[in-house]
């Protein structure tokens, strides 16, 4: 269906384009554009096109980042955000996959629940914040809840769709050979739905990370989102930029080092074509 297809296509686009794009290994090649960007940034700052309060230079940002690293606040905030992300993933992903498979085993139930899951999927993320704050108050519970349910619904939906689109003939073949439900699940459903599930995981973490940062701005007092929002109240644009860069780098690292290899390892290992 749509979301897994789009995600799969985007993911396939990334790996398909891997032939035309610099590979992950050529880090020097990858770093050059950023070096140029930083130089351009420094030049713009030096030229004084914008007042320094609006656009601090790379040096200022690096200095602030260093200070934050030294006094531990950077590590604390990174830890808070990543910790919440980890909790959200660990809690949501297995439950979502398990639930998705259980529901999808009954095809009739899957057909009915799919639009509902789609709806909650469309609803996911920061829209839950006022409700979460009503229920849990301000603080890490609300923030983690929002992110966890973002991840949950997307993975659940993708699992449903993934299992549903496994051709029935595989299931029937396993049953003909005397396989029980356990075999059907492990040897047909799970591998068949895997591309959809893994794409779902990858996308949901993307959405979840964004929801987390936004929620941290509004509803809590630790974490990277809070860091940059708080800095804006004091017009500390250098701290804001340091935080923004940290957020971007963290996501890129997560995607490159964890999610893409996961996708490559699971999907390509089973020789499955995504799109």
């Amino acid at each position: 269906m749509s979301v897994p297809a789009a995600g799969a296509r985007a993911a396939a686009g990334r790996s398909r384009v891997g032939a035309a794009m610099p590979r992950a290994g050529s880090t020097a090649r990858g770093a050059l554009p950023f070096a140029v960007l930083v130089v351009a940034w420094a030049a713009v700052h030096r030229a004084g096109i914008l007042p320094p309060i609006f656009l601090p230079g790379p040096g200022d940002v690096a200095r602030v980042a260093w200070e934050m690293a030294l006094d531990g606040s950077l590590a604390a905030n990174i830890g808070a955000s990543l910790g919440r992300l980890l909790v959200g993933i660990v809690v949501s992903v297995p439950v979502a996959i398990a639930l998705g498979i259980v529901v999808a085993l009954d095809r009739r139930l899957a057909r009915v629940l799919e639009p509902i899951a789609g709806f909650f999927n469309a609803l996911s993320g920061i829209a839950w914040l006022p409700l979460a704050v009503t229920w849990f108050g301000l603080g890490w519970t609300s923030v983690t809840f929002i992110m966890a349910n973002t991840i949950f619904f997307l993975v659940f939906f993708n699992t449903l769709v993934g299992v549903r689109t496994v051709p029935r003939i595989f299931e029937q073949a396993v049953r003909t050979l005397g396989g029980r439900r356990r075999h059907v699940i492990l040897q047909v459903m799970l591998p068949g739905a895997l591309p959809s599930i893994v794409t779902g995981i990858r996308m949901s973490i993307g959405f979840g990370w964004r929801a987390l940062i936004a929620a941290e701005m509004i509803a809590t007092s630790t974490g990277l989102g809070f860091l940059i929002f708080n800095a804006s109240n004091f017009h500390q644009t250098d701290a804001i930029l340091a935080g923004i860069i940290t957020i971007g780098v963290l996501w890129l690292l997560t995607d490159r080092l964890v999610l893409q290899p996961l996708e490559r390892w699971t999907v390509e290992r089973w020789g499955l074509v995504t799109s």
Binding site: A6, A12, V17, P22, L131, T134, F207, L241, G248
Partner: protein, 255 residues
Amino acid sequence: MTRLETAATWAVLLAALLGAWSVAAATLPVPDYVLPSPAAVVASLGDLVVKGILPTYVAESLRRIVTAGLVALVVGVPAGLLLGTSRRVADFAYPILNFFQSVSGIAWLPLMLVWFGMGERTIVVAVNYTVLFPVIFNALLGVRSVPRIYVNALRTLGASRLRIVTDVMLPGALPSIATGLRLGLAYGWRALIAAEMLVGAHGLGFMIFSAQAFHLTARIMLGMAVIGALWLVLDYFVLRPIEQATITRWGLVQR
């Protein structure tokens, strides 16, 4: 399974859900505002429409996201195509675009607050940014993924550079662009809600956020439902069909 069976299962499920919800709302030992009944949520729909609040906020949010989408197309597609035509430029731009796409517009919001203050412009910049980068990025990817042989074929027939762009690059990139637009708007819609909560310049995000301060939980739930429903409508009627159509018509089989 027949249509009738599906509809019947739906009806039963819905009734069961609403029933359980109503019972829970009536019997749980929590203050009223924690779990409003379904009836209260529906009542708040009527209330908000009669008072003109919901249509105004919906119109504002829609206006912002639609303009962001249009801006992303008008600016992002040419930019992505341009960056993608030259291999060296594309290689250079790829990591930068990837990075900027990863940093959602919401993360830039604090900076925008310093630059533009609490107002419409802050929201507009943040949301437009969020939608723009996936479009540029995917346009670039789309162009890069067009097999060289098509370009060369047109070159041998003596086509000008512009012709190559319009006849080969653009159509070849369209499926990717459609996907990028869909993804960008998905991110953008959520970023919009978050921005409206933070900046308070009206909109659905502001509506549910301010409702929380007054414990108007029925309004929160209604607002959430509207947010989800609007995205579903946009996705089902506009974004997905366009994506499907571009793939069907111009989707290239990759080796």
